[in-house]
């Protein structure tokens, strides 16, 4: 059984080579026998604090049902300059509205999405599928058996959500959007 700080170091190393969010089960397995969920949680917290206190360019975040080490958002410009790619394409207003409907009402069909927005959303949904933010989740057993859509793991990662329950509630969104929407 490893001491807490040694376990934290081990977990940090695993996260460094993972390249994506690692579920806690995966970390537990990597830590070996005799290391329980509680010890892993404690170690994760140590890693998180270490990076925070050191003023690191990296931070530990809980995202998409797992934990990952990621670059801090303020270095976006530097990363872009170094890696030589253009900024991630913004999401259009249509894309954001469609994504919001899918996120809060999933699984949901295209006619349902279009009804709420008052316009046909086929093109927007296709774009969201291409950007891997939404996925197809089967067919609805009604006339025409339309496809059902839901948000993907990539959606959680890109929006920094640990799971769907972490979505801001509609009430929170309403309060936040008055200042946030126009100010952003």
């Amino acid at each position: 059984m490893l001491e807490a700080h040694a376990l934290a170091a081990l977990i940090e190393a695993v996260l460094a080579v993972a390249g994506e969010a690692v579920p806690l089960d995966g970390l537990e397995a990597a830590a070996g026998d005799g290391v329980g969920r509680e010890a892993v949680e404690e170690a994760i917290e140590i890693v998180r604090q270490r990076h925070e206190q050191a003023g690191s360019g990296l931070f530990l975040e809980r995202v998409a049902g797992g934990v990952r080490l990621a670059t801090r958002p303020e270095h976006e410009g530097a990363l872009r300059a170094f890696l030589g790619y253009r900024s991630k394409a913004r999401l259009s207003q249509a894309a954001l509205e469609t994504l919001a409907i899918i996120a809060y009402r999933q699984p949901v069909t295209l006619p349902e999405i279009s009804f709420v927005r008052g316009v046909n959303c086929a093109g927007v949904v296709r774009t969201l599928l291409e950007r891997k933010l939404v996925i197809i989740a089967g067919r609805k057993q009604v006339v025409g058996t339309p496809l059902l859509y839901r948000t993907s793991k990539e959606f959680l990662v890109q929006f920094g959500l640990s799971d769907l329950a972490a979505l801001p509630t509609p009430e929170e969104a309403e309060q936040g959007s008055d200042g946030g929407a126009d100010g952003a």
Partner: protein, 240 residues
């Protein structure tokens, strides 16, 4: 220039806000007129989008007429109710979209950390940046050398003009007539080196078969070939 709207509901919400009226008590006649005016101004609407705006334009007219001419009889619900519900629903979506947009914005630079660890895959990727031009040149030379080893240059073969067998008969005949033949000067005066070599081999063959003997007085002096008197056997002559 009109602001860009996401659709009929977006336009309606905009009109409600601009008129500073309550969404629960929309002055439908005013909003309906302004709505029609707005879509008339949007001349360059594409056909599909125009259809969606027109659906709502028609619906607004229906609501407006119901408001003006309430039906008699039973207590009827407000004809605006469904529209209001849809507008509220859409407004919620707009707020959520704004929230998501904000989340997306602040996370632009967030990338997963990934140190390059050796992959268990058999397909190791070649890092071209680690190659220098000299290593490349060395590799090329190695390939060329191996290629030459495995594909040696073709040998040029002269057509066979002389055969040892022919020369044996030739020499046998000569020594039969001359008794003592100056072999060395004969070899040295041949215009073709191949012929000289063939003649030498033929002479050696004659010696081996004991058909001729050779005499030389000193090193580098003339070599005389003389018959022993033995018959040249027809069998066992080299064919080369």
């Amino acid at each position: 220039m009109l602001p860009v709207f996401e659709g009929p509901l977006d336009l309606l919400l905009h009109l409600v806000r601009e008129n500073k009226v309550s969404i629960w008590d929309i002055p439908i006649a005013t909003i309906c007129d302004q709505y029609h005016e707005a879509i008339r101004a949007m001349e360059q609407l594409d056909l599909e989008l125009a259809g969606e705006y027109l659906v709502y334009a028609t619906w607004l007219l229906v609501i407006k007429s119901r408001m003006l001419l309430p039906r008699h009889g039973e207590e009827e619900k407000d004809p605006r109710q469904e529209l209001v519900e849809r507008l509220l629903e859409y407004e919620k979506v707009k707020s959520a979209a704004a929230e998501l947009g904000g989340l997306f914005e602040i996370r632009r630079g967030v990338e997963s950390l990934r140190l390059q660890a050796p992959v268990a895959s058999s397909e190791l990727e070649l890092d071209l940046e680690d190659l220098d031009v000299f290593a490349l040149a060395r590799a090329l030379r190695g390939v060329m050398e191996r290629h030459e080893r495995e594909h040696p240059a073709a040998m040029e073969l002269e057509p066979i003009r002389y055969s040892v067998r022919d020369k044996i008969f030739e020499l046998y005949e000569i020594i039969g007539q001359q008794r003592s033949f100056p072999l060395l000067s004969h070899l040295l005066t041949r215009p073709d080196r191949i012929e000289s070599v063939t003649l030498l081999l033929a002479a050696l063959e004659l010696l081996r078969l004991k058909v001729a003997t050779a005499h030389q007085r000193a090193a580098f002096a003339e070599i005389y070939l003389m018959p022993t008197g033995a018959q040249l056997p027809m069998e066992g002559l080299t064919d080369a």
